[in-house]
Amino acid sequence: MNDTFEDRLLAALKADMAARPARATAPRRVTGRRLFAAAGVLGVAAAAAVAVPMAIGADTPAYALTKNADGSINLKIREFRDPDQVERDLAGMGVTADITYLPLGKWCGNLRITPVQGDNFSFTPEEIASKDPAVKARMRKRLESSISYKAIEPRNGITIHPEYIKPGQVVVIDVAENPVEPTVDNPGVSWQMRGMLSAGPPEPCQIVDQPGASEIGDATPPPGS
């Protein structure tokens, strides 16, 4: 995808752009509270979207992609700023990945994947709009039982479990990062991620505006989280 110096430099500069305002602010206190939001489209949903407010420190150094003793692979948000490098690193660990890095407020409007078996859950619009904790818990459970969620787990950054990935399947991760680090006083979504398995090569991301990306509602964690 990025074949020349021109392309690689552009990717690096865009990553710098995304990090820019965050660099200007002083290190902030961080809390670990997480908001879980599931997004799906009636009938075709196979997407696990997680919005994480105030979960990442402002001055955390760039991490190395780490392989855990159990075979899982750990990825931290900062690595996504150089998506092609992450793709290459993951390829070196035997995982085919397609990673899109966006500023918060933009999102891939298309479902880029061909769903894999075991991912055929879907949400109704009523479920997505529901504020009932019981409904949210059911949605969460369904999401967590999907193969995509098991393979691409939003824990400790993102934890990839290669044992759930069959040959030929592609790990598709879309990340949108807020260039402004949310704080306790000024809460907001720090980053959003969508991780899915695709049965074949994914479609390119069609970037759309996502004006409500920074809205975190009342930021109440779902029960059991």
Partner: protein, 190 residues
């Protein structure tokens, strides 16, 4: 991805507009640098520095004060001057994007070709080396980089009248150098 035609002022917080700007001017910036720097790795570092500087200073662009390319050459020139004041090692240590680390062998070969292709421009600049600094800077931008006198004035942040006077003086001085024939236009790369 839809590419917007947006001037420098709005690109710092709009990745799409920045990409369009970058693609429009990447070649011009590397050529400008290849006329002045003989090492492909240094050209790569400086190209990264220039576009970082563009992001840092996009808000200083005023459309009424000359063309986009004049503004960009001004930024490029300032980046180059800053680099010459600092050591190359210091530049690399402090840079947020290390240009040379993004180079692969094909890219190095392409940049070397570009540097070779600019050798007539380098000879022209050597011929101007004896001019006073303020005349030389202007003459370079006009005769070698292909800016109009008004654009060159904008790039250097001087008045157009001042630029005309300096150019006139520079041309007269160059006429007296054997082997240099004004107006010395080597190319009009835009």
């Amino acid at each position: 991805m839809r590419l917007k035609q947006k001037g420098p002022a709005g690109i710092a917080d709009d990745p799409e507009a920045f990409e369009a700007f970058y693609r429009r001017h990447f070649d011009a910036v590397t050529r400008f640098l290849a006329r002045r720097v003989g090492d492909p790795h240094a050209v790569a570092d400086l190209t990264a520095e220039v576009f970082l500087a563009v992001l840092d200073s996009a808000h200083t662009y005023r459309p009424g004060k000359g063309s986009e390319i004049a503004w960009l050459y001004g930024v490029t020139r300032n980046t180059l001057l800053a680099e010459r004041r600092r050591s190359a090692r210091e530049l690399r240590a402090n840079s947020r994007v290390a240009g040379r680390r993004l180079l692969e062998s094909d890219d190095v070969a392409r940049l070397e070709d570009r540097i070779d292709a600019e050798s007539p421009a380098r000879r022209a600049m050597e011929a101007m080396a004896g001019l006073p600094e303020n005349e030389r800077a202007l003459m370079e931008l006009v005769a070698v980089d292909g800016l109009s006198p008004a654009e060159a004035a904008a790039a250097l942040g001087i008045r157009q009248g001042t630029a005309r006077v300096r150019l006139h003086r520079a041309r007269r001085a160059l006429q007296r150098i054997p082997g240099v024939v004004p107006p010395l236009v080597m190319e009009g790369q835009r």
